[in-house]
């Protein structure tokens, strides 16, 4: 994927966030303060605006997203996603394309960023769990080509699996046992990110590299 492909991915994600805003908010109402949809929509709307006039390389498009999310989203998810995209931008410095082999390290950079920022190690029932499983599984398979369909599949499975956990971080933690059974909003918005990645790659048709 080059800068243009990535910009397409982010545009698509911005659309999906707008569309799923109410749903994300509903998930957050059950376990948090009911603003995850509004928070994300505020940030990604601005990303879409910025992308309209954007002309830059691969690391710059990630940096643009990072800065925009950090300065527009607020709440917990702003700094967390912001850090993830910042770390990815740093990893991509000097590159013009994300190749097959880049995915494990790229995802690791993002996932570690979230883990550090959020002070989580996994199992706290946050978006980190999804990022971590995607990054770790990709790494374990080192050598095999990473397909976006796999990333999506792992993300979905994890988001589903952590429903039964008790939240230990973020606002949902205040619920204690009452958080069990509910979806985590940040985990779900992360799944959507991989879903749109996969859609973007698939719809390019093209060389099948990513399929």
């Amino acid at each position: 994927m080059n800068a243009k492909d990535v910009a397409g991915w982010f545009q698509r994600y911005a659309d999906v966030i707008e569309e799923k805003k109410a749903w994300l908010t509903e998930l957050d109402s059950a376990v948090g303060d009911g603003d995850h949809g509004a928070n994300m929509a505020r940030g990604w709307k601005e990303v879409r605006n910025q992308l309209k006039t954007f002309e830059g390389g691969l690391p710059e498009v990630f940096l643009l997203v990072s800065r925009t999310l950090i300065s527009k989203v607020g709440g917990a998810s702003g700094p967390l996603y912001g850090t993830a995209f910042l770390r990815m931008s740093m990893f991509l410095k000097g590159k013009e394309e994300i190749g097959h082999d880049d995915w494990p390290a790229l995802l690791k950079a993002a996932s570690e960023g979230i883990g550090q920022r959020g002070k989580v190690n996994g199992g706290e029932k946050t978006m980190y769990d999804v990022w971590a499983v995607v990054s770790e599984t990709a790494e374990k398979r080192a050598g095999e080509p990473v397909r976006t369909s796999h990333l999506l599949e792992w993300a979905r499975e994890k988001a589903e699996a952590i429903r039964d956990l008790r939240a230990l971080k973020g606002r949902a933690a205040y619920l204690g046992d009452r958080s069990v059974g509910h979806r985590d909003p940040g985990a779900e918005s992360t799944v959507l990110l991989f879903e749109t990645l996969h859609q973007t790659v698939s719809s390019r048709g093209g060389n099948g590299r990513e399929r």
Binding site: D35, G74, G75, K169, R171, A173, Y174
Partner: protein, 359 residues
């Protein structure tokens, strides 16, 4: 009623009260919900031009005389919807700046950074942060950015809510109304010319001695969400509620004021624990729509509890300090004083909400 009739016909509600979900109307005094924070901040500055000025489009309220030469700057803030927190506590002897985010949403690092820069006189800046993941993360990033710009900056995190279990593996206790006592003592300390590490140390000491807990009788309704943050039955209350309408620790039937106060008091007292002979400041904080009449009844009951446990009240704040929009309910805060803290609490302050002369 000619004066009303002669106006042209009413603007349809949908033209302005539109973001309402499920079609139900929000009975609030507002224009567009998306504009409410901005308009509120403008209103505050217009009401108190001698005390407050703003940084355009940033949600930051500053002391008119910031940065104050030779004084550590104090910055606090968080989501809006807790008025008068935090803008009402900006002024001599308290905060130098308050940063307001959207309703119940932490402000972003760039805005916090603007506040830090605006109040730094070269003596450094301390951020007073309530323990919510969003607030902590955004302030943390702002502090990193400010440090990168060469500003001496640090932060403390307030976690006074005993309703939430404390553990290093979890988010830990929330920061609620007790935060305002931290503003007061840290503010007085900074005003004395203390260094950043000294002000931080005083703030940390205070945090270690402040405990709070709240109860909700009704939920609150965020202007953009347009529906209550949770639901309570007609005869139900939620004990241990957070200031954003996050669920509390226990639902129970409505209790008489005496029982309610004792329940919160016991939990707060046992936690530190507070003990006989302690000199304490107390706060009876209204959540937004509980009348002052009821808060004073609560205070009377609280004083009975203190007397029984032979604790001595040396200062009382009874009113609205850290609200949750239009939630009905209240929180209690106890602050175990030592000589330094008691003296700092008594120092002059000149903010919109807390004003006291020199004595």
């Amino acid at each position: 009623m000619k004066w009303l009739r002669k106006k042209k016909s009413h603007i349809p509600l949908t033209e302005w009260n539109t973001s309402i979900q499920g079609g139900s109307l929000l009975k609030k005094v507002m224009n567009q919900p998306e504009q409410i924070v901005k308009e509120m901040l403008e209103g505050m500055i217009l009401a108190h031009p001698d005390r407050l000025r703003g940084i355009k489009e940033s949600g930051v309220l500053l002391r008119t005389d910031a940065p104050v030469e030779g004084k550590v700057g104090l910055v606090s803030g968080g989501g809006s919807g807790h008025e008068p927190a935090h803008g009402g506590f900006v002024g001599k002897g308290m905060l130098d700046a308050a940063v307001a985010g959207e309703v119940f949403t932490s402000p972003t690092p760039d805005r916090i950074l603007e506040a830090i820069k605006a109040v730094d006189s070269g003596k450094g800046v301390l951020c007073i942060v309530k323990n919510y993941t969003g607030d902590v993360l955004n302030f943390e990033m702002a502090v990193e950015l400010a440090a990168a710009e060469g500003i001496e900056v640090d932060s403390v995190v307030v976690n006074d809510d005993v309703a939430v279990e404390d553990s290093t593996h979890t988010t830990g206790r929330r920061g609620i109304a007790g935060t305002l006592f931290v503003h007061k003592v840290a503010g007085a300390k900074a005003e004395s010319g203390a260094t950043l590490p000294e002000v931080k140390e005083t703030a940390r000491k205070a945090i270690g001695r402040i405990r709070s807990m709240g109860v909700a009788l009704t939920p609150c309704t965020p202007p953009e969400a347009g529906k209550p943050s949770f639901t309570l039955e007609e005869d139900e209350i939620e004990i241990g509620i957070g200031i954003h309408g996050e669920p509390g620790v226990k639902r129970t039937k409505l209790l008489p004021a005496s029982r309610l106060v004792r329940t919160l008091f016991d939990r707060i007292r046992e936690d530190l624990p507070f003990k006989a002979g302690d000199r304490v400041a107390v706060m009876v904080n209204g959540m937004g729509s509980t009348p002052l009449m009821e808060l004073n009844v609560v205070h009377k009951e609280l004083m009975a509890c203190l007397r029984e446990k032979e604790m001595k009240m040396v200062e009382a704040w009874v009113g609205e300090y850290m609200t949750s929009l239009d939630m009905a309910g209240f929180s209690l805060t106890l602050f175990q004083l030592d000589e330094e803290l008691e003296a700092l609490l008594a120092q002059p302050a000149d903010s919109v909400t807390i004003r006291r002369g020199g004595n």
